[in-house]
Symmetry: C2
Subunit: 198 residues, 2 copies
DNA sequence: CAGAACTTTGAGCGCTTGCTCAAAGTTGAG
DNA sequence: CTCAACTTTGAGCAAGCGCTCAAAGTTCTG
């Protein structure tokens, strides 16, 4: 839609503005007026570059979902610890994308289309985590690894949500505790819940 | 505001309609028009009973937050397992309230007022979990118990979110795995992540 | 049964929303 | 330099929003 240099730049300014507003004020806070004001662009220009407001928002969201799973395919040899560390960094880092991602998950609770997008991204990540689990313990069946990964991912998502709502929450510390005991060891021995060191 | 019997009944119908719409379509889906249509009430009647649309929504939300922590004060002797079981039941049960609660948490990411309400409720629950942790292991310091409870709560929230988005997700099974290994044993022994049975 | 207190009603107000469109301006290949 | 292709612009539209208000109806006390 944009073919001249200026057009591409304007497009970027609009996406940047949309991204900022999405992270700051949530999806409800994103209005055409605000986008065009922040991007310093006329309403008409916006519609020259995007089919609708939704199109711009979805473009930002698509980028956000991709960002959760950055180098897919390339570095497949990550350890579980590295994957978790990367996820924690993503959640607690300065980028506004994590906020968008989590809010999106919340909206997925009542919007099937959004749920589908979020789930696709989520499952892709679960698969990478499962692979890492199996790399650390080759004895695990595919199913076991997948379930383990699911638990870790879900829990990490919850930790991220808590961390972004409560600034005092130290996500990294909690994530470490989570995995040392729970994620890796799916031991069905009930004793584990009684015996504890320290 | 409502003092006659009919008025109180109307008020209940409105809250019920608001609750349903909130759970089905999320906060964005709740419009005055829809509330009054579903409740079979004129717009004017609504404003005779509530100061604003927001007031009705907040009333439902307040009830939702209370529902997460049902019998506070009364039965303080719950075991950790019981508390977790209750939370899982709340999340996976038929009530629409869990959906509202989680969506609210998502919206708390960009709305300070909502965040405050959610956090207050969350912390109250963490406190009960911490007490249960300490009951099971009196050796734990207050701080240790609180951190352990925080991890469990955050993880459970994440599991609940995943379960509500993905119907195929078995929250109870994952919650059990989570706690057997991770929640109770904050063992810093790295070995735990290597040793696993089955 | 009188009548004050409470409830119900929906047309319509003011405002915001996403979006259109015709006219004017800018870009860059030939 | 030419000129078609692309970009910019904001007034204004239709639709939807939360909400008001005066008139009519209902409830329940004394």
């Amino acid at each position: 839609m944009a073919r001249y240099r200026v057009g591409l730049e304007t497009r970027e300014r609009i996406l940047e503005a949309t991204r900022t507003l999405l992270a700051e004020d949530g999806i409800d806070g994103v209005t055409l007026k605000r986008i065009t004001t922040v991007a310093e662009v006329g309403v008409g220009s916006f519609y020259n570059l995007f089919d609708s407001k939704e199109a711009a928002v979805f473009e930002v969201i698509r980028q956000a979902l991709d960002a959760v799973d950055p180098h897919r395919g390339s570095s497949d040899g990550d350890t579980l610890a590295e994957l978790i560390d990367a996820f924690v960094s993503f959640m607690t880092g300065p980028s506004p994308i994590a906020r968008i991602y989590l809010q999106l998950a919340g909206l997925g609770l009542t919007d099937a289309a959004i749920a589908q997008r979020v789930l696709r991204s989520h499952r892709r990540r679960v698969q990478r985590f499962a692979a890492a689990c199996q790399r650390e313990d080759p004895a695990l069946t595919d199913e076991q690894a997948r379930e383990q990964a699911q638990t870790i991912m879900a829990a990490l998502t919850g930790l991220g949500l808590t961390a972004l709502i409560d600034p005092a929450f130290d996500m990294r510390a909690h994530a470490e505790r989570l995995v040392v005991g729970g994620g890796a060891g799916s031991a069905p021995s009930a004793d584990a819940s009684v015996e504890r060191s320290e």
